[in-house]
């Protein structure tokens, strides 16, 4: 058996390399092939991947930044609108106050004018009444002498007209009459 093994070893030894002794030709081929692989991938592929990763990060960060800017812009606009709204409210309040004041003034104006008018009308009425009274009084005064003389002549039975005319009785009486109411009224 030992002989067989020795024969086998002798036969196989030249053909079968020792598996833990590297075949230098394979190291050369492997190194060249792996070198080409490294060259192509490290030069042409992975730098582009890094660029792409960077571009993605920038795209995301840029997006966030843009969104923040929009938000700030919107906030500023909102503040501006709020300010404008407040201003408009104040303005409206001012206008309302003014209008109320105006309306009051106008009302006062109208009232004053109406009062004036009514006073004027009342005064005119009073004047007219007084004038008419004067007229009536004057007419009555003219008639009253005649009436009184006529009435007295009827009562006495004779005409006193001439008598009265002669003596001026009527004129005197009238004068007294005139004096009396004037004093009584005063």
């Amino acid at each position: 058996m030992l002989a067989t093994a020795a024969r086998l070893l002798a036969e196989e030894a030249p053909h079968t390399p020792n598996p833990i002794v590297p075949i230098w030709q394979e190291i050369v081929v492997g190194a060249i092939a792996f070198g080409i692989l490294c060259y192509v991938l490290i030069k042409f592929v992975f730098p582009r991947m890094e660029q792409m990763f960077k571009a993605r990060v920038e795209a995301i960060e840029g997006g966030i930044k843009r969104a923040e800017e929009r938000q700030a812009e919107a906030n500023a606009l909102f503040e501006q609108y709020k300010l404008q709204l407040a201003e408009a409210r104040t303005e409206a309040a001012r206008i309302r106050t003014e209008a109320a004041a105006d309306a009051d003034g106008i009302r006062q104006d109208f009232l004053a004018r109406a009062r004036e008018e009514s006073d004027r009308i009342i005064a005119a009425g009073k004047d007219q009444l007084a004038a008419e009274r004067q007229t009536i009084v004057r007419e009555l005064r003219a008639d009253i002498g005649t009436l009184a003389v006529d009435l007295a002549g009827k009562i006495v039975g004779e005409s006193l007209a001439d008598e009265a005319r002669q003596r001026g009785t009527v004129e005197r009486f009238m004068a007294e009459l005139d004096a009396a109411p004037a004093g009584g009224r005063a």
């Binding site: 058996m1 067989t4 093994a5 196989e12 053909h15 079968t16 390399p17 598996p19 833990i20 002794v21 590297p22 075949i23 230098w24 030709q25 394979e26 190291i27 081929v29 492997g30 190194a31 092939a33 792996f34 080409i36 692989l37 490294c38 192509v40 991938l41 490290i42 042409f44 592929v45 992975f46 730098p47 582009r48 991947m49 792409m52 990763f53 571009a55 993605r56 795209a59």
Partner: protein, 263 residues
């Protein structure tokens, strides 16, 4: 030894599998070992990765398409979960290499469970050695460039300990940092891929061997053997991803250590 071997069902399915399985002849006569299944697979992996990334990123958009998203996810994973996690903010500049390394190891490992290929170029130690040498040169280079040669050596070799222990510690540190690191890095990946392939071979070829057994009691066991081969393929898928991840994480950990200010 021959007495233990079960006679295979077919002559072209030798059982048990030997190391010879890992060294197929050249694809074209006289080109061994320049043009073998292993070197061809390395070129295929490189070609597929270049095509995938260039196509996925030929016209990148802010809102990525499916392919672009996949490419970005792979890069983002290496960038955030390996480079930044292990090295910190500085790690970002190493992310392109780590991604390339991760993709290359993952795809070449993946070949070991793709039907019709079923072997990883990393099952030959040459490929892991090549990758480990790059990592080794890389972490030493960034360390020397950051601290200067003298200070880097001091940081790497002289741990904070009393002076009389240093004669013991310095050789240990030297051995672990400058010899063990590249060796374990390459052997770990190689051994996983080598053993994974071997295990799958054992169970799938073992199924045929059992089927070819003379006893009818043994023949049905071949089904169990194949079932195990399928189950172990899933395990192998896990190992594939894990080994790619571990290789890149360890490389970044070494770079991180070389950049660090204290031991």
């Amino acid at each position: 030894m021959h007495s233990l071997v079960i006679v295979p069902a077919r002559d072209d399915l030798p059982f048990p599998p030997t190391v010879e399985e890992f060294f197929p002849p050249a694809l074209v006569d006289g080109t061994y070992p320049w043009l073998t299944k292993f070197t061809l697979l390395v070129w295929i992996a490189v070609g597929l990765l270049i095509v995938f990334f260039l196509v996925a990123y030929r016209n990148p958009k802010m809102v990525p398409s499916r392919g672009q998203w996949m490419a970005e996810s792979i890069y983002g994973f290496s960038r955030e979960n390996i480079a930044k996690e292990m090295i910190g903010h500085e790690g970002v500049k190493f992310a392109p290499y780590f991604t390339t390394l991760f993709c290359f190891i993952l795809l070449t490992n993946l070949f070991s469970i793709i039907p019709g290929i079923q072997i990883s170029p990393s099952a030959h130690i040459a490929i892991p050695v090549m990758l480990a040498v790059i990592s080794y040169v890389m972490f030493n280079y960034v360390g020397i460039r950051r601290h200067g040669f003298g200070k880097y050596m001091k940081l790497s070799l002289v741990p904070p300990a009393p002076w009389f222990i240093q004669p013991i510690l310095i050789p240990i540190e030297f051995f672990s940092t400058f010899i063990v690191r590249p060796v374990t890095l390459s052997v770990r990946l190689f051994a996983n891929m080598f053993a994974g392939h071997m295990i799958l071979l054992v169970f799938s070829l073992g199924g045929f061997a059992l089927l070819g057994a003379n006893s009818w009691f043994i023949k049905p066991i071949s089904l169990l053997s194949w079932a195990l081969a399928i189950a172990l393929t899933f395990l192998e898928a896990l190992v594939i991803v894990l080994q790619a991840y571990v290789f890149v994480v360890l490389t970044s950990s070494y770079v991180s250590g070389a950049l660090a200010e204290e031991h």
